[in-house]
């Protein structure tokens, strides 16, 4: 350490460099201030969307609430009043719906991210295309068929729904994990390894943090897919808001149909917004 001090002194009294310019003044002007303050930069536009989206969602929720109140359930016919009862039908179904979407998304993350990491490591790299093809076919199958397929194997219930949805939503997270990791510049990894970082350190300190934005985008897609697909859970006795929608269709009650579908939309929009929020604030600084 101490041997550096003279060099510092040397550079210190060597205020200007060979061509007489200040070392600091050497950088090209366009790089001096890389973040030109434009009025609506892309980042700011995105933040604007992030800030206004909750207003839209709240507006939609208010509209639905007003419509729900205007139905005056206490005095309406049973075909409307029964399926739209908040305490016994709508609220439990919303909870069920979220439970399905939550567990299927968690399982997708737990399965797809480690799988994606493994498939980008040298020993397993060659299996990547095969696995992606399998995940691809999971998404190519009609969701309806997938549910029925798992119904015949695993029986009725919420668990079956979750398993089917995991297979269905695996692809975006798996593919984004692989793409995100592959997109990390070779030179950055080479520099890390060259400084004596272990493979594990390079993965956890460099590759994964840099891949976070891409992986999160995949998770967001999977989450929205799951919320949407959870409306089909009623088909195999999985519950969820699909029940209300189906009832509305079967009894030809537009009010029931509209309210059921609206709640799904509100849930989906809310979680999409939370996803966007996570993408913005979990993005590593400097990238």
């Amino acid at each position: 350490m101490s041997q550096l001090t003279p060099a510092q002194a040397r550079l210190g009294d060597h205020g200007t460099t060979t061509d007489g310019r200040e070392p600091e003044g050497s950088l090209p002007p366009d790089l001096e201030a890389p973040h030109e303050p434009g009025w609506l930069t892309r980042a700011r536009r995105k933040h604007l969307g992030l800030k206004t989206a909750p207003l839209g969602i709240l507006g939609l929720a208010g509209l639905v609430f007003w419509y729900y109140q205007s139905l005056n359930l206490a005095e309406s016919k049973v075909q409307i009043a029964s399926p739209l009862a908040w305490g016994t039908k709508l609220w439990p179904q919303t909870v069920e719906h979220l439970t399905i979407a939550f567990w299927s998304t968690v399982l997708v993350v737990v399965v797809a991210i480690p799988l994606g990491i493994a498939l980008t490591r040298p020993p397993l790299r060659r299996f990547g295309p095969t696995i992606v093809a399998v995940a691809n076919s999971g998404q190519a199958l009609p969701a309806y068929g997938l549910l029925i397929l798992f119904l015949s194997m695993l029986g009725q219930g919420l668990r079956t729904v979750v398993v089917a949805l995991v297979l269905y939503a695996l692809l975006p997270v798996l593919r984004n994990t692989m793409v995100g990791l592959d997109a990390v510049e070779r030179s950055v990894i080479e520099a890390g390894r060259g400084m004596g970082m272990t493979r594990w350190q390079v993965l956890t300190r460099i590759e994964l943090p840099l891949a976070v934005p891409v992986i999160l985008a995949g998770v967001r897609v999977a989450m929205i897919l799951n919320i949407g697909m959870a409306t089909l859970a009623y088909l195999i006795g999985g519950g969820g808001l699909g029940v209300t929608i189906a009832v509305g269709l079967k009894l030809q009650q537009d009010a029931v149909l509209v309210i059921g579908a609206s709640i799904v939309a509100i849930v989906a929009l809310t979680f999409d917004w939370l996803g966007a929020l996570a993408e913005t604030y979990l993005r590593p600084k400097g990238v």
Binding site: M1, Q3, L4, T5, P6, A7, Q8, R10, L11, G12, H14, T17, T18, D19, P23, E24, S26, L27, P28, L31, P34, E185, S187, V188, I189, E190, A191, G192, R193, G194, M195, G196, M197, T198, Q201, R205, I206, P209, L210, P284, K285, G286, V287
Partner: protein, 388 residues
């Protein structure tokens, strides 16, 4: 084999699976402590591979690698690399970490305490000429190419490694900034005295940076390894001669210094006090076409042509032409030659520190120096051959 080699490669070989010819074939090389050894050669000659064999980014398939006479061919490569600074052309700064975090990479792995790391980061930023106050909290995307490579060098120096490996570190930087970075790096190296292996494909960079240069041919065969002076003065074969390219004699002049040990040519001089006739006599005696006019404190003033002296009249500070070509003692002969080309008398005036006249450099003198350098280099190789 000398025992004080900092880095020693002993018949190191790298053969890739499925290829017949090895990429690096039985390379034996020594780098003494504090030396910059430049590996230079045409692209594809295996110079980068050779560099990466030293820190085992590429595992050798044969031979042994010694650092400080310790066999490191089979030690844990991650621990080995923490002892060796590594700079690459693409720099590879971690974009999601601040400059300070980047530089702290190796110290952190070596579990230095926080205060020591912070102190070290500031120290290194100053060494590479970046103000710590301004730069330590910035991200790599906010730096220009030259600044980024300064940080790259600072990061490689992080834990004060004794050995540095540099793979075309200034290759992707514009020529002006590159020249400045090279100069600054050489100045820092004067103090740090690291043992450095430096890869480049640019012979001029090699000549500038290298204490010694190894010119590599196919499969990293060493075609010539020596000081830049000797390689320029005496390329051993056509391969080396072609690689150095034209102008090697001129480049060699960079290494010859105008100093006191060299006998400079005398030149007829006169002062403002002397008469034209006296000057003319001096010029005639020396068979010179010009006389150098000195001022009272012996500083070169004007070149006065013989015709003007023949015409008589007083010799004043306005006679003849101005002395443009002046080099100080300690300048290189290259600079002297440059000055000769603009001088009206085709000679460069050598002045002492106080500006007083010391002598002149003429073409015949350059010629003598070059021939002497060549003779010495040839004799050196003849001695080596005789010993072998």
């Amino acid at each position: 084999m000398s025992q004080d080699a900092k880095i020693r490669l002993d018949h190191v070989q790298k053969k890739y699976l499925g290829s017949k010819a090895p990429a690096v074939d039985s390379l034996t090389l020594e780098v003494p402590e504090g030396e910059i050894l430049v590996l230079v050669g045409p692209s594809g000659c295996g110079k980068s591979t050779t560099l990466r064999l030293i820190n085992r980014m590429i595992e050798p398939t044969g031979g042994r690698i010694f650092l400080d006479e310790e066999d490191v061919t089979t030690v844990d490569p991650d621990h080995l690399r923490r002892r060796i600074g590594y700079v690459i052309q693409q720099i590879g700064l971690f974009p999601h970490q601040t400059i300070a975090q980047n530089i702290a990479t190796v110290p952190k792995m070596l579990k230095w305490d926080k205060a020591r790391i912070a102190e070290r980061v500031d120290e290194l930023l100053s060494v590479v000429g970046l103000d710590p106050e301004v730069y330590r909290g910035r991200y790599p995307s906010e730096l220009s190419g030259g600044q980024a490579q300064r940080v790259g060098v600072a990061r490689a120096l992080g834990a004060d490694p004794e050995i540095m490996l540099m793979d075309e570190p200034f290759g992707a930087i514009d020529p002006i900034t590159r020249d400045r970075l090279q100069n600054e790096f050489l100045r820092v190296q004067e103090t740090l005295r690291k043992t450095i292996v430096f890869v480049t494909h640019d012979i001029d960079e090699a000549i500038k940076m290298g204490d010694r240069i190894a010119i590599l041919g196919e499969q990293s065969h060493i075609r010539q390894i020596d000081t830049p002076e000797r390689i320029l003065a005496f390329p051993v074969d056509d391969f080396v001669r072609d690689f150095i390219g034209s102008g090697s004699t001129l480049k060699g002049l960079h290494f010859e210094i105008v100093d006191d040990n060299v006998e400079l040519d005398p030149y007829p001089t006169m002062t403002v006090d002397s008469t034209a006739a006296e000057g003319l006599a001096l010029a005639r005696a020396a068979h010179a076409d010009w006389v150098l006019l000195l001022d009272a404190s012996h500083r070169p003033l004007r070149w006065v042509p013989v015709d003007e002296l023949e015409a008589g009249g007083p010799v004043t500070a306005e006679s003849g032409t101005e002395v443009l070509a002046k080099v100080s003692l300690g300048a290189t002969l290259f600079q002297a030659l440059e000055q000769m080309l603009v001088s009206s008398a085709a000679v460069a005036c050598v002045v002492r520190e106080d500006g007083s006249y010391h002598g002149v450099v003429r073409l015949t003198y350059l010629n003598r120096v070059i021939r002497q350098a060549r003779r010495e280099a040839r004799e050196h190789y003849e001695r080596l051959e005789a010993m072998a």
